[in-house]
Symmetry: C2
């Protein structure tokens, strides 16, 4: 079967070589065979897995979650509800994070509004607002 170098994998998956080696080191996917000169030689199976990993990471899953998804996806006959649950939980996290960030953006916008332009630090409204419990005189 055809085997490719780590550089080819990088081109095909957009995962950097160092990262691929790192994934191998932490046991995220099985290590590939080596050539006579000790170069890694990947199969199309590796490529498939690494694309899967890349996609999961793009979607914000942690490496532990990816590990779990890989494990689950290898058990072809077991129930798929675990996958659904994992995805749903992750979605909840992401939604929480969005709402946190939106609150935060609101506060930052508020800060930005009150200090437009050319005062001096001593009168800076932003800094005053950042110092809690210290009302402006």
């Amino acid at each position: 079967m055809k085997r490719v170098s780590i550089g080819e994998v990088t081109k095909a998956t957009a995962i950097k070589a160092v990262t691929i080696r790192y994934y191998e080191k932490i046991g995220l996917f099985p290590p590939p065979a080596r050539t006579g000169s000790n170069y890694r030689a990947y199969t199309t199976d590796h490529l498939r897995q690494l694309r899967f990993i890349r996609r999961c990471r793009d979607l914000g899953f942690t490496l532990d979650q990816v590990r779990e998804l890989l494990r689950l996806s290898s058990q072809k006959n077991s129930e798929c509800s675990n996958v659904d649950r994992l995805t749903a939980r992750h979605l909840t996290n992401v939604e929480q994070k969005i709402s946190d960030l939106e609150k935060l953006a609101g506060e930052l916008r508020h800060l930005s509004k009150c200090c437009k332009g050319g005062g001096i630090i001593a009168d800076c409204r932003i800094l005053q607002a950042l110092a809690p419990g210290e009302a402006a005189p």
Copy 2:
């Protein structure tokens, strides 16, 4: 003047003692005096600074940005436009992150929708969707 222990500071600022010591170690704020038994003894100035830091962190500024804000806020007579710029840039980052996460949440919701309940892994739409370029048969 009155000085308080690290425990008091923790209560007053909601920053953990270890974190306060960590901030001290990386030089984020001046180290406090010590008691005879080598305990840290904080002034109200320290308290003010640490509350400031806490607030900045809550707003998502990095420690480097906090460092800069502290530096700026100590120069009472210089211009405040730098503070404004820093805040604005941070806001832009936050807004970018929100939009990234929203796109991501959309994809996750899409995933979640297509796999509700009780199939087996071999047919799992989520896993199929996570494997790019491998269309379902």
